[in-house]
């Protein structure tokens, strides 16, 4: 799943197939390596599970993200810190202040 998350963050939507291949390949190498450790055995099912979960993550994250975007739009903007004002060249007089929640109906 973390591979799906990273690929979605890095390359955006429509990367389900790539996420499956990358996650399944990494999992295959890990499970293969487990056969070479004393007392351990690989699990071939993990390869498919890893691939599917990464693909599922890339499909689910756009939906989850759009929910978080809606949540952020529903809430007030955070107060600007002094260092943020200074870095953007804003003075105290021009600093925007949150007036309250903005409701969307």
């Amino acid at each position: 799943m973390p591979i799906g998350v990273m690929l979605w963050l890095r390359y955006g939507n429509q990367r389900g197939g790539r996420a499956f291949v990358v996650a399944a390949s990494v999992s295959f190498m890990v499970e293969l390596a487990r056969y070479f450790r004393p007392g351990l055995e690989g699990d071939i099912n993990a390869v498919v599970v890893a691939g599917l979960s990464a693909m599922f993550a890339t499909r689910l994250l756009p939906v989850a993200w759009s929910m978080l975007v809606a949540l952020a739009r529903q809430s007030a903007p955070g107060p600007l810190r002094r260092w943020q004002m200074l870095s953007s060249g804003m003075t105290g007089e021009r600093m925007p202040r949150p007036l309250g929640d903005v409701e969307h109906f």
Partner: protein, 371 residues
């Protein structure tokens, strides 16, 4: 913004998933066995007579976990079959529900009949009843969730959809934590659980595993409760808003995690730990803090920041992956030794899930998916 957040998957997609699930159930119930694939030809008519005489076996509480696991295994199948045949007109819904149960029962009986060709597998009425109940529960879950999803979809409120998903996550998490749901029901079972209770007070997660892996396990177990903390911050006042304070969330979270611990002490197969109350509550508080912070961020800027962090996260992720799989070691086998050590049956798909309890198999699947 996406407006198809709550669009229900089409019937064709649900039908495909249903067929895949049925095929996997058939495969894992017949081909997979303690000796691997073991088909023995017998006269189908004779096998049918044997099938009609399927016995009911009076099991003790030690078999309850397997019975409940069989019930749980058929819930997704009932859900998917119902989703495939569910009509849009309310008048046809009762016949559709009856049809769903009939399809599920026919599938279960067919698989049970075929199992008799694969000794040493046996068939009992206990598991037929458990699986039928599971498919009925799956059908009921679909009927309830379909209505709820349809209502939420018509409302078109993504925040309400988020709350709905978080609630579903909470239900799934509670079922997962209490698996295999084999609660102590008799006085003797309760007595045994009470005698076990002092062991739960000082038990720590991870058993005899290395310290780093135990730390990762505790972090993951706590992180599983982050979405619960997110859910608890929402208060509905017309629309859902992040309103509840951290202290209130912490108190409710403590009550939930204590309740989960109390229930898990009644599960015969579970290994409850009192310390879990602490790290699960920490996860809840972290979730509350995180959603409050997240709701005040600029989403585009945040995504840009996360995108830039990805290359820095690759190496830590790989280190954790190797650590959890015990691959950070200098002790390795030669190719010959590795071949001698490997179990050839382990190369059979799903065999590794067959040889452990179903609850353990579910935990393995979740562990592999999360990593």
């Amino acid at each position: 913004m996406r407006h198809d957040i709550l669009s229900w998957p089409g019937r064709r997609r649900l039908g495909c998933l249903c067929l895949i699930y049925a095929a996997l159930t058939l495969y894992s119930s017949t081909i997979i066995g303690p000796l691997g694939p073991h088909f023995v030809y017998r006269d189908p008519a004779e096998v049918f007579r044997l099938f009609l005489a399927t016995p009911y076996v009076a099991h003790g509480s030690d078999q309850r976990a397997d019975w409940v696991a069989n019930l749980l295994m058929l819930i997704p199948f009932g859900f998917l079959v119902a989703g495939t045949v569910w009509p849009s007109r309310p008048a046809f819904r009762l016949p559709a529900a009856i049809g769903t149960v009939l399809i599920c029962v026919a599938t279960i009986l067919t698989i049970k009949y075929l199992q008799l060709f694969f000794p040493p597998r046996t068939v009992t009425l206990n598991y037929i009843v458990a699986q039928t109940l599971g498919s009925v529960i799956g059908c009921a879950c679909f009927a309830a969730s379909h209505r709820r999803f349809s209502l939420a979809g018509r409302r078109g409120d993504p925040v309400a959809a988020l709350v709905l998903f978080l609630r579903l996550y909470l239900v799934a998490l509670l079922i997962f934590l209490l698996m295999p749901l084999d609660f102590a029901l008799s006085a003797a079972d309760l007595q045994t659980q009470i005698e076990r209770f002092p062991d739960t007070l000082l038990a720590l997660p991870g058993g005899d595993r290395p310290l780093a892996m135990r730390a990762i396990l505790i972090a993951a177990a706590g992180a599983a409760f982050i979405p619960v903390g997110m859910l608890l911050t929402f208060v509905k006042a017309g629309v859902y808003r992040v309103r509840r304070g951290i202290l209130s969330v912490a108190c409710i979270g403590l009550a939930i995690t204590t309740g989960v611990f109390a229930f898990s002490t009644l599960v015969i197969s579970a290994a409850p730990m009192m310390v879990s109350i602490v790290y699960r509550s920490c996860g809840i508080v972290l979730g509350a803090v995180w959603i409050r912070w997240l709701s005040r961020q600029d989403p585009d800027a945040l995504r840009g920041r996360l995108r830039r962090l990805v290359p820095w996260a690759i190496v830590p992720y790989l280190v954790v992956l190797l650590l959890v799989n015990r691959l950070l070691s200098a002790d390795w086998l030669s190719v010959q030794d590795a071949i001698a050590q490997a179990n050839p049956l382990g190369l059979l798909p799903l065999f590794d899930y067959y040889i452990v309890t179903k609850a353990m198999a579910a935990k393995n699947i979740v562990g592999h998916a999360v990593l």
